[in-house]
């Protein structure tokens, strides 16, 4: 695949409209279901990791240069462009914490009566971790199903790995 181009702003790819079209969340959910049904959970995890390490590579590069402040800048800009998101981005001493009070994806899928892929919320961990690792960072997710806490901090070998049971099943 081609190398994504580098950008200088917090978001790697920008649009002319300020906020995305929420119906695309249905396609994200449908994409996960297609891969899961055809190839299984391990391949779906590969998809999440691959999208994090390749499509979102410019984000990792920004994080590698700018550290945790760049992580906070990214997520503020990111959620500002996601319709219906209610997320607080906290810059703590040694981590960036996203307090997701209303997940825009889960909310939209529920409002439209869509069947949500049960492991949907795990994508946040696997994509986040794939984006964070090349920058020397690591990610953890707790909660899910519409509300969660996502954390980004410097990678530390002594840190316990993500427990996937800490991530709720979506419905």
């Amino acid at each position: 695949m081609n190398e994504p181009s580098l950008t200088t702003g917090p978001l790697p790819y920008t649009d002319t409209k300020p906020v995305g079209h929420a119906d695309f969340y249905m396609a994200v959910n449908a994409t996960f279901r297609f891969i899961l049904d055809r190839f299984g959970y391990e391949k779906l995890k590969d998809y999440w990791r691959d999208i994090g390490t390749t499509y979102y590579r410019p984000v990792s590069e920004n994080w590698a240069r700018g550290g945790l402040p760049a992580v906070a800048d990214y997520w503020r800009a990111f959620f500002k462009a996601e319709p219906g998101a209610e997320v607080e981005v906290l810059e703590l001493a040694d981590e960036v914490r996203l307090e997701v009070k209303v997940c825009p994806v889960i909310r939209h899928l529920r409002e439209h009566g869509r069947e949500i892929v049960p492991c949907f919320c795990q994508h946040c961990f696997f994509v986040n971790e794939a984006m964070a690792a090349p920058a020397g960072l690591t990610a953890r997710v707790q909660g899910g199903g519409g509300r969660c806490v996502q954390r980004f901090m410097k990678a530390d070998a002594s840190m316990a790995p993500q427990n996937l049971e800490d991530i709720a099943t979506a419905s």
Partner: protein, 184 residues
């Protein structure tokens, strides 16, 4: 999180990821099964039940919400779209994203099977620069595609001075992305 703001970017990236995993047939299956039958099930229902009226309803708010510059023309026998600024291809062009061989094929990829199931066929051209046109007719209507300007007047995208591109893909009475009949 994978968001919707840059959806067209990771959507296009996904085409190539699937292409590498299972080739062209897997990409086609994705457009049909994941997009047509799952994500856009509401479009299938609307057009299946209401025909041209359903097309008018679907390709109104949806394209507007995506930020498209387009015109719709509807008669008793045909539904036409002139896309002057495709928000989806435009996003890719502006951001220099070009992973998959022909992103524009995804539209026929999901709309084609939808129209087939609903009893319609498609005449269509896209110029890979963010402009395209579509004419949907009932499958038993053998009327050929309109001449430039005949249906949508000055809104016809083919009248734009920049319509011609190095390669414009052409579909005639199509319902499948492999129905390309000419390259110019």
């Amino acid at each position: 999180m994978i968001g919707c703001y840059d959806f067209c970017g990771h959507y296009e990236w996904t085409f190539e990821w699937l292409n590498k995993l299972g080739g062209h047939e897997l990409v086609k299956a994705y457009w049909d099964e994941a997009i047509h039958r799952d994500s856009q099930a509401h479009a299938s229902k609307l057009i299946g039940e209401k025909g041209f009226e359903g097309m008018q309803e679907y390709w109104g708010p949806t394209l507007a919400d995506e930020g498209a510059v387009y015109e719709r023309t509807m008669t008793d026998d045909v539904f036409r779209i002139d896309m002057h600024e495709c928000p989806s291809k435009g996003f890719l062009l502006r951001n220099g994203l070009d992973q998959y061989k022909d992103y524009c094929d995804h539209c026929v990829g999901w709309i084609g099977p939808l129209m087939k199931e609903s009893g319609f066929v498609i005449d269509h051209e896209h110029n890979h620069c963010g402009q395209c046109w579509w004419e949907m007719r009932r499958k038993d209507d053998t009327t050929p595609a309109s001449e430039a300007g005949a249906l949508s007047g000055h809104h016809d995208v083919r009248l734009r001075p920049d319509w011609k591109s190095p390669h414009t893909d052409h579909y005639e009475r199509a319902t499948d992305p492999d129905d390309k009949t000419a390259f110019s």
